[in-house]
C-alpha cells in the first residue's frame, strides 16, 4: 500500500477538477472495493478525493415517471426503498443477491458500477495481469479460470464484471448520469461498461475526471414478471458463476417486451437484443427459452475450469425466464431455487 493524501470535496465541480487534473487521484465513496485494492497494492492513488459529502444522495421521481438514484445512495437504501421495491423489484432483488448487509450499507450506487473484477490474478501483484499491468500477460486464460468470462473475452483478458446491481440495471436500461470537465452527459448503461479487447485496463467509458452523479431508471413496468437468479459456489456471499436478470411484459399470454441480462459471464453485463426480440409476440415455453438462451450464448468460449458455465448459463437463462413468465421471482432469502 502506498502513501496517499486525502481531501474532502465540497462540490461536484471541485471533485471533478481535482481528479481531472491529477492522474494519480481517485474518487472515494464507500471504499468497499478501492480500499481492498489499495491494500493489495493494485490501486496506488497518490490522492483520494472523498466525495461522500457531495449532494448526490436521495432517490427522486423524474419527470418521465422514473426514478433518479443519487450516486451516493447506498446499495441497501436502493434495495429497500419502497418505490424501488414496488416499481423496480428486479433491481431490489439483484442488489440483495449480492455481498452482505454490511457491505451493502457502505457501498454506493456509483461505486457499485465502478467495482473492479474479482479475477484472482488481477488481485495478486505477484502475478502478471494485463488489466493491472498492461502488456504483462493474462495467466488466467491458461490458469485457474473458474470464475472467468465465457463471452466477449479477448486474448488479453478474460475477466468478468462482478456486480449484481449492474446486471439488473442493464436489463432495466438504466441511464448513467455523469459530470466531468466537459460538463454533464448521460451514458446508457449498455454503453457504460466495455469489453476488454486490447485495452483490458479500461473497465468503462468514463473519461478522466468524470464522476457518476446519478443512475436513472426509466419509467417502465416490469414489476410483475421478473426475476434475478444468481447461481454461485455457496448459497450466499459469493460472486455469481452465472446470474440472469429477466424481465418480461406479457399480454394475453404472449410476451410483448423482454429484457435479459447476464452477470458473471463477461467483462460487462451481457445483453443480446436480438435474443430478446425472439420472445416478442410468442407464448412462453421452455423450448422457446432454450432457443433464446442459445442465441445469447452464441459464440461463448469456455476455458479449462469454466467451460461448464456455458451449459450452466443456458440452464439458468431458461429457469430465469420460466420464473419471470410465471411471475414467481427468485427469493433472495429462501435459497431453494424456484
Amino acid at each position: 500500500m502506498n502513501r496517499f493524501s486525502y481531501m474532502r470535496a465540497a462540490s461536484v465541480e471541485e471533485a471533478v477538477r481535482e481528479v481531472a487534473g491529477d492522474p494519480t487521484a481517485r474518487f472515494i465513496a464507500g471504499g468497499t472495493n478501492l480500499i481492498d485494492l489499495m491494500k493489495y497494492d493494485v490501486e496506488r492513488p497518490d490522492r483520494l478525493i472523498d466525495i461522500t459529502h457531495l449532494p448526490l444522495k436521495g432517490i427522486e421521481e423524474t419527470e418521465g415517471g422514473g426514478l433518479r438514484i443519487g450516486a451516493l445512495v447506498s446499495n441497501d437504501e436502493v434495495a429497500y426503498d419502497s418505490r424501488v421495491q414496488d416499481r423496480y423489484p428486479l433491481l431490489s432483488s439483484a442488489i440483495r443477491a449480492g455481498a452482505s448487509p454490511q457491505l451493502r450499507n457502505a457501498a454506493t450506487t456509483g461505486g457499485n458500477l465502478l467495482q473492479r473484477t474479482r479475477c484472482y490474478y488481477f488481485y495478486d501483484t505477484g502475478t502478471p495481469c494485463n488489466k493491472r499491468e498492461p502488456g504483462s500477460g493474462c495467466p488466467a486464460a491458461f490458469g485457474r479460470n473458474r470464475i472467468h468470462a465465457i463471452l466477449g473475452t479477448s486474448e488479453h483478458c478474460i475477466a468478468t464484471h462482478p456486480s449484481d446491481m449492474a446486471v439488473a440495471m442493464a436489463a432495466l436500461e438504466a441511464l448513467v448520469h455523469v459530470a466531468g470537465p466537459n460538463g454533464e452527459r448521460v451514458i446508457p448503461i449498455a454503453e457504460f461498461h466495455r469489453l476488454p479487447g486490447d485495452r483490458p485496463e479500461i473497465d468503462n467509458t468514463l473519461e478522466r475526471g468524470e464522476i457518476i452523479t446519478a443512475v436513472e431508471l426509466p419509467a417502465q413496468d416490469f414489476s410483475r414478471n421478473h426475476t434475478y437468479l444468481k447461481v454461485r459456489d455457496r448459497l450466499s456471499y459469493a460472486f455469481a458463476l452465472v446470474s440472469v436478470a429477466a424481465a418480461l411484459r406479457l399480454d394475453a399470454g404472449k410476451v410483448t417486451d423482454a429484457r435479459l441480462a447476464l452477470g458473471g459471464v463477461a467483462h460487462k453485463p451481457w445483453r443480446v437484443p436480438e435474443a430478446e426480440a425472439m420472445l416478442s409476440g410468442k407464448a412462453p415455453s421452455s423450448d422457446l427459452f432454450g432457443k433464446v438462451a442459445d442465441r445469447i450464448l452464441d459464440g461463448a468460449k469456455g476455458y479449462e475450469d469454466n467451460a461448464f458455465k456455458i451449459d450452466l448459463a443456458r440452464r439458468t437463462i431458461v429457469r430465469a425466464l420460466s420464473q419471470a413468465a410465471e411471475g414467481k421471482p427468485q427469493s433472495q432469502t429462501d435459497k431453494r431455487i424456484q
Binding site: M1, G126, G143, R234, L312, R336
Partner: protein, 745 residues
C-alpha cells in the same frame, strides 16, 4: 474417594465467553507494549529459483523504516536442522525463513520490513524491489505421483499403515461383488479467523515475552530458544486466546521466527502479523488421490479391502498423516492391503488440519462403502453392521469402548432413516431431488503426558493451571468444571490459567487429546490438594474428622464433610489455618497407561446422516439436515461439546461442497487466497445440525472416561453428504469438493 456430582456432564456457559464477546480477551496481535515496531513480510512471487537481487534502498530511505531484513543481512541463527525442528515437525529439514537466496515455494517470506508504525512498514514493503532467477517448479500431484515413495522415516505420533493381512488382491479378484474407485480431496487451508501473529516484547534484561498465536506455547518457546540460541528461561510465550487454529498453529509459523529475529536484531519489541493472503503461504491439508477396491460376498460381507493413498508433501519435509489406516478399525475383513505414499511438490510443507488423515481417508472409505451398499443392494447401515468389528483388527486389540452400533441406531431414529426409499432419484420435493446419505466417523482417543497445578488460597479461591491452549474448544470451561467439581467449589471460585509457557508442561493442543490429558492432570492436582487439605483438617484440635479416612468425606461448598454425618465438617479455611498455611498447592501429571495401551485401542466413533436437496438442473445443493450421533465417552460439557461437533460438521460441509485452494500449476501458486474466493460455508449454507451424544461407558483411557471431540465432527461428514447427493441424483462424485459443475454433466 468420592466426587461431588453436579458439574461434570452438565451444560455450562463458557467461562471466557463474556471476555470474548466484550473484546476483553486479548489475542496475539492485540497486546500492546511501549516502543513497539512493526514488521511486514514480503512474499516470493515465484515458486522455485533464486533471489538474484534485493533493492531495499528506497524502502530504507523512508523515514520511520528501521530495517529491511533479508537473507543477506539477517543475524545468525542456529545451524543444525535439529534446532529448527519443533515438537510436531515431520521428518526432514525444516524450512528456515530468510536463510539463503533459494526459493522453495511461492509465497515464501523473502524479506521483513520493520518500521516505527504499521503503515510505514506496509508502504516501505511496496518499495522493495526483488529480482529472481526462475527455475522450473512442479506443483501437480498427477505428475509428482509418478515418483511417489513410501516415507523412509516415519513421523512421530502418526501410525504407518498396518501390515497387509491375507491376500487382498487375490480375494478382490475372486469376490462376487466389487467396487473400485479413485477419490480426490482438494487442498484446503485452515483459514482461522485470526491471522498468524506474534508480538515480541523485548525486555531490557534480555528476556523475550512473546504473544504468539499458537496451539502450543511451550512448543513455540522451545523453537525460539533452540533457533536463536537462547536459554528457555529467557523466553516466555503467552497465548491465552486463539482465534481458531484447526491444527495450523501446532507448528511455529514463520511470523514467529521473523518477529523474534527482528526484535533481537533491533533490540526492541516487534510485532508481525500475516495478511489473509499470506495465510495461504503456511501449512494446508494436502491434496490426496486415493484408490479403494472393496470386494464382498453377495450378502455384503467384506472379502477384500485395498486402500492406496498418495499425498503431496514439500521438497524438504515428509509430512505424514494416517489416511488409509481406518477400514480395519471399523470393518471386519481378513484380506486387507493399505498403502500410503508421498509425492513431493514445490509448495510449503502441509500441516495437520482438523482430523488430519481421517477427514481425507474416511471420506473416501465411507463413499466406497456406500457404493458397495448399492452394489450388493442392502441398506448402507445394514452393510456396516454386517461388517462391524468388535476389535481393532489393525493391532489385534480390544476397544476401550465402542458404542458405534448405538450411534447408527440412535442417529437413524432421530433422522427418520427407516422412511428412506433406497432407490436413487426416488425422493423429490417440488423441483428438488431429495437425498439421504450416511457415513461413519472415527478418530483416535488419546492421552498425552500433561502436567497441571492446582492452588487453593485462604479466600476459598482455586487456581488451576496448565500450559495447554484453548483454541475456541472450551478448554477453559471444562478445566474449571473439573476443578470445581473435584474440590467441591463453585465454578466462579475457580480460575483456569492456560496458554503460557511458564505453566506446567503440556504438549501442543491438538489431536482431540486436550480434554482428556489436561482434564486428568487438573483432576489429579486437585485431588492432591484435597489430600493435603484433609490432612490439615484431621490434625485440627478436636477435629470432627479426626478418625475419618478420605474415602469417608465429601468436599462440597468449600467444606470437608463426613459422608454419614454432615454436621461433622471443617471449612477449607479452617483446615488451612490449622495447618498454618495460606495456600495449598500441588502439581500432578497425567500420562497414558502403557499397560492398557498394549491391550486396548481407544477411538471415538460417530454416525452421520445427511439430507440434501439438489436442484438438478442447476447443480445447486443444499444440506438441509445433519444428524451426527457421537460416542465419545464422558461428555464433560454438553453445551461446548455440541458446539465443537457442530463446528466439525460445518467443516465437513465445507469439505463436501466448497473448500478448495486452487493451485495454478503454471505459477506454482495458490490463487484464490482470500475469503471472497476460498469458500467456507456461510450462515445460508447451514441448516439444521442435530448432535446426539450416545451414552458410552469408558473406564480405561482415563479416570473420567474422556475421549475428546475436536475432530470427530468432520470425519465422515463429507462422505455422508456425497452419499446423500448420490441418493438424490444417482450421480457418484468421487472428487471433493462436489461443486455444482460436477453435477451438471
Amino acid at each position: 474417594m468420592q466426587l461431588s456430582k453436579g458439574l461434570i456432564g452438565t451444560p455450562q456457559n463458557r467461562v471466557d465467553g463474556r471476555a470474548k464477546v466484550t473484546g476483553q480477551a486479548q489475542y496475539a496481535a492485540e497486546f500492546d507494549t511501549p516502543d513497539l515496531a512493526f514488521g511486514v513480510v514480503i512474499s516470493s512471487s515465484i515458486a522455485k529459483g533464486r533471489i538474484a537481487s534485493i533493492e531495499a534502498e528506497a524502502a530504507l530511505a523512508v523515514p520511520g523504516v528501521l530495517d529491511v531484513i533479508t537473507h543477506k543481512n539477517r543475524p545468525r541463527t542456529a545451524w543444525l536442522d535439529r534446532s529448527f525442528r519443533d515438537e510436531v515437525a515431520p521428518p526432514g529439514s525444516p524450512f528456515r525463513p530468510l536463510y539463503d537466496e533459494e526459493i522453495k515455494y511461492s509465497g515464501q517470506p523473502v524479506a521483513l520490513v520493520v518500521a516505527e508504525d504499521f503503515e510505514t512498514a506496509v508502504y516501505a514493503a511496496s518499495l522493495v524491489d526483488i529480482a529472481y532467477e526462475v527455475e522450473t517448479h512442479m506443483t501437480d500431484l498427477d505428475i509428482a505421483r509418478r515418483e511417489a515413495y513410501v516415507p523412509p522415516k516415519k513421523r512421530g505420533g502418526v501410525k504407518p499403515p498396518p501390515s497387509p493381512t491375507g491376500d487382498a488382491e487375490g480375494a478382490f479378484a475372486q469376490a462376487p461383488v466389487k467396487v473400485h474407485g479413485e477419490y480426490r480431496i482438494a487442498v484446503e487451508h485452515h483459514n482461522p479467523m485470526e491471522m498468524q501473529a506474534s508480538t515480541v516484547v523485548y525486555g531490557q534484561d534480555g528476556t523475550l515475552t512473546i504473544h504468539d498465536k499458537t496451539q502450543g506455547a511451550q512448543n513455540s518457546q522451545g523453537y525460539v530458544a533452540n533457533v536463536f540460541g537462547l536459554s528457555k528461561d529467557k523466553v516466555r510465550v503467552i497465548s491465552p486466546f486463539v482465534g481458531g487454529a484447526f491444527g495450523l498453529c501446532l507448528r511455529p509459523q514463520y511470523q514467529l521466527f521473523l518477529a523474534v529475529l527482528a526484535a533481537l536484531e533491533l533490540r526492541r519489541s516487534v510485532r508481525v502479523v500475516l495478511t489473509r493472503d499470506q495465510m495461504f503461504t503456511v501449512g494446508y491439508r494436502p491434496m490426496a488421490i486415493q484408490t479403494i477396491s472393496l470386494g464382498a460376498n453377495p450378502d455384503g460381507k467384506l472379502q477384500s479391502i485395498v486402500h492406496d493413498a498418495v499425498q503431496t508433501t514439500s521438497m524438504f519435509e515428509d509430512y505424514q498423516e494416517a489416511i488409509v489406516n481406518w477400514s480395519n478399525l471399523l470393518y471386519h475383513c481378513d484380506n486387507v492391503k493399505l498403502t500410503y505414499q508421498l509425492a513431493q511438490v514445490d509448495t510449503y510443507t502441509p500441516c495437520d488440519m482438523r482430523a488430519p488423515g481421517a477427514a481425507t481417508g474416511v471420506t473416501a472409505l465411507e463413499t466406497a462403502m456406500d457404493e458397495l451398499a448399492y452394489a450388493v443392494g442392502i441398506d448402507p447401515i445394514e452393510l456396516r453392521l454386517r461388517n462391524y468389528t468388535e476389535t481393532d483388527e489393525t493391532e489385534g486389540k480390544s476397544y476401550t469402548s465402542k458404542e458405534l452400533r448405538a450411534c447408527y441406531q440412535l442417529g437413524a431414529e432421530r433422522f427418520g432413516w427407516s422412511k428412506r426409499n433406497p432407490e436413487p432419484r426416488s425422493m423429490r420435493e417440488g423441483r428438488e431431488l431429495v437425498g439421504w446419505g450416511m457415513a461413519t466417523g472415527v478418530w483416535e482417543a488419546m492421552l498425552a503426558k500433561t502436567a497441571a497445578r492446582a492452588m487453593l488460597t485462604l479466600d476459598g479461591r482455586l487456581e488451576v493451571s496448565c500450559a495447554t491452549a484453548d483454541i475456541g474448544t472450551g478448554t477453559y470451561t471444562i478445566l474449571t468444571q473439573i476443578a470445581a467439581e473435584t474440590m467441591g467449589l463453585r465454578m466462579e471460585d475457580v480460575t483456569a490459567k492456560i496458554g503460557d509457557s511458564s505453566l506446567p508442561r503440556s504438549p501442543v493442543e491438538g489431536g482431540s487429546w486436550t480434554a482428556a490429558s489436561a482434564g486428568t492432570a487438573v483432576q489429579k492436582a486437585c485431588q492432591s490438594v484435597r489430600e493435603q487439605l484433609f490432612k490439615f483438617a484431621r490434625q485440627m484440635d478436636s477435629s470432627p474428622l479426626a478418625n475419618a479416612s478420605i474415602e469417608q468425606v465429601a468436599f462440597a461448598e468449600g467444606e470437608i464433610r463426613l459422608l454419614n454425618d454432615s454436621t461433622a465438617r471443617v471449612t477449607f479455611a479452617a483446615a488451612m489455618q490449622a495447618g498454618g498455611v495460606e495456600r495449598v498447592e500441588a502439581e500432578e501429571k497425567s500420562s497414558p497407561s502403557f499397560l492398557d495401551a498394549a491391550r486396548y485401542s481407544g477411538y471415538t466413533h460417530s454416525a452421520i446422516f445427511a439430507e440434501v436437496k439438489v436442484d438438478e438442473e442447476l447443480g445447486v445443493v443444499r444440506v438441509t439436515r445433519i444428524v451426527n450421533a457421537v460416542a465419545a465417552g464422558t461428555i464433560l460439557n454438553p453445551k461446548t461439546a455440541r458446539s465443537q461437533v457442530m463446528g466439525g460438521v460445518v467443516f465437513g460441509i465445507g469439505m463436501a461442497l466448497a473448500e478448495e485452494s486452487m493451485l495454478d500449476h503454471n505459477l506454482g501458486r495458490f490463487m484464490n487466497h482470500n475469503f471472497g474466493e476460498y469458500h467456507v460455508p456461510v450462515n445460508a449454507d447451514i441448516y439444521d445440525i442435530d448432535v446426539i451424544f450416545v451414552s458410552e461407558h469408558e473406564d480405561k483411557l482415563n479416570p473420567m472416561g474422556i475421549k475428546g471431540l475436536g475432530e470427530i465432527g468432520i470425519v465422515g461428514t463429507a462422505a455422508a453428504i456425497g452419499n446423500a447427493i448420490y441418493h438424490a441424483t444417482g450421480k457418484r462424485v468421487r472428487e471433493f469438493p462436489i461443486t455444482l459443475d460436477k453435477l451438471l454433466e
